[in-house]
């Protein structure tokens, strides 16, 4: 499927009016995901922005044209596994999909996800990584970048504060779960995202995981119109590389010949405005080290 055809050749399955922030690229990602997956899909949206803005609905109305539900913050993968076991046993083919924030994925729901990955439950798990708990007002998550301001890693008047620890390298952790398909994606690269969702849909021998890097304009302090540009800079600087792992084989989907400095990405974002030059250098060094490892793994 061509990305450019999404708008004309696919059906919108999410309510056209949800109260996501103006310019939210998570909303875009969700719409793309559902347009590619199509109506034969059961969708889990755990507590988080997307649930909060109405995708699961309100009172007696639904926020989607497919079966949609709230799993708990801590059990999306397990609930999906149960649904899939039911349909598999009946021999009916259904996409059973989670669209979950990084909080639900990397922190509170990780154990269920890790278990489902190990057991080979045939679900599609998509994490939208906006680096924090946005629905509750932008607290830190395991996936928050080092140094970032969040409401639970505040910065004081002297500019001291921010998250002390590294961003959990979740795509790599999932890749090491030996699942048949793991990929990173980014809303600035819609075609790549479409390809990956299509691949995930084809997987029939285990769990498919897609990690979408989604700058949150509201939480991070990004101008709404720059929503996509900032996402793109994360790829162009190798900060959030695009790659996939099929049956253990790593492949880079984007290999910028002249990667931009991470600083270019960081500067667009208010949550990093207090960072010192050393802080930025450290993030650059980490990015380079991880990138090298990735290139190395992709060389096998």
């Amino acid at each position: 499927m061509k990305a450019i055809d999404l708008v004309s050749k696919t059906e919108e399955l999410i309510s056209p009016g949800i109260s996501a922030c103006v310019g939210c690229n998570v909303e875009l990602s969700l719409r793309v995901v559902m347009r590619v997956l199509g109506p034969n899909t059961i969708l889990a949206v755990p507590p988080g922005c997307m649930g909060g803005v109405g995708v699961v609905g309100w009172d007696m109305k639904s926020g989607a044209k497919v079966p949609v539900f709230f799993p708990l913050l801590d059990n999306p993968a397990s609930m999906l596994a149960g649904i899939k076991l039911h349909y598999d046993r009946l021999g009916e083919d259904v996409n059973v999909v989670a669209f979950a924030g990084d909080g639900a994925t990397v922190d509170a729901g990780f154990q269920c996800l890790s278990g489902a990955a190990e057991r080979g439950d045939k679900i599609i798990y998509i994490c939208y990584d906006n680096e924090g708990y946005m629905n509750t007002g932008y607290q830190r998550s395991g996936s928050t970048t080092k140094g970032a301001w969040t409401s639970t890693t505040p910065v004081n008047k002297e500019g001291i504060g921010g998250k002390m620890q590294n961003k959990k390298d979740f795509p790599m952790i999932m890749a090491m779960h030996d699942i048949p398909y793991m990929a990173t994606a980014n809303p600035a690269y819609v075609q790549d995202m479409v390809n990956k969702i299509e691949k995930a849909k084809q997987v029939d021998n285990g769990l498919a995981y897609i990690h979408i890097f989604n700058p949150c304009i509201t939480g991070w302090g990004v101008k709404s119109e720059e929503s996509i540009e900032v996402a793109r800079l994360a790829v162009q600087s190798n900060f959030a590389p695009l790659y996939e792992v099929e049956n253990g084989n790593f492949k880079l989907n984007m290999n910028p010949r002249n990667p931009k400095p991470v600083k270019e990405y960081l500067q667009k974002i208010k949550k990093f405005s207090h960072l010192t030059d050393e802080d930025i250098e450290e993030l650059q060094a980490d990015t380079d080290k991880k990138w090298n490892r990735l290139v190395n793994l992709a060389s096998l």
Binding site: S15, G17, K61, G63
Partner: protein, 88 residues
């Protein structure tokens, strides 16, 4: 007790819940069809899929457009502009 819900459990099956997000706009995107090359990039990035393709042309439907300006920012030909929303 008088029941408002016809369901015995919390399910939503009475149609689709929609918010009239078009009302949120303080500015609206306007396309200059002279500059537009019909590449469709604006449509691909519009978070609400508010830009549709009709008769091989991309047009902005304003029903749910929140006025984020992404289409303006991403358009390679500067074919879209934001103008203040009337009455705001």
């Amino acid at each position: 007790m008088k029941f408002k819900s016809k369901y015995i459990v919390p399910v939503g099956a009475d149609g689709i819940y929609e918010i009239d997000t078009g009302k949120w706009r303080t500015e609206r995107p306007v396309m200059d069809k002279d500059k537009c090359i019909e590449c469709g990039i604006c449509a691909m990035y519009c978070p609400v899929f508010s830009i549709i393709k009709e008769d091989e042309k991309y047009i902005i439907t304003y029903d749910y457009c929140k006025g984020c300006g992404i289409c303006v920012h991403e358009c390679p030909k500067d074919a879209i502009d934001m103008i203040p929303e009337e009455g705001k």
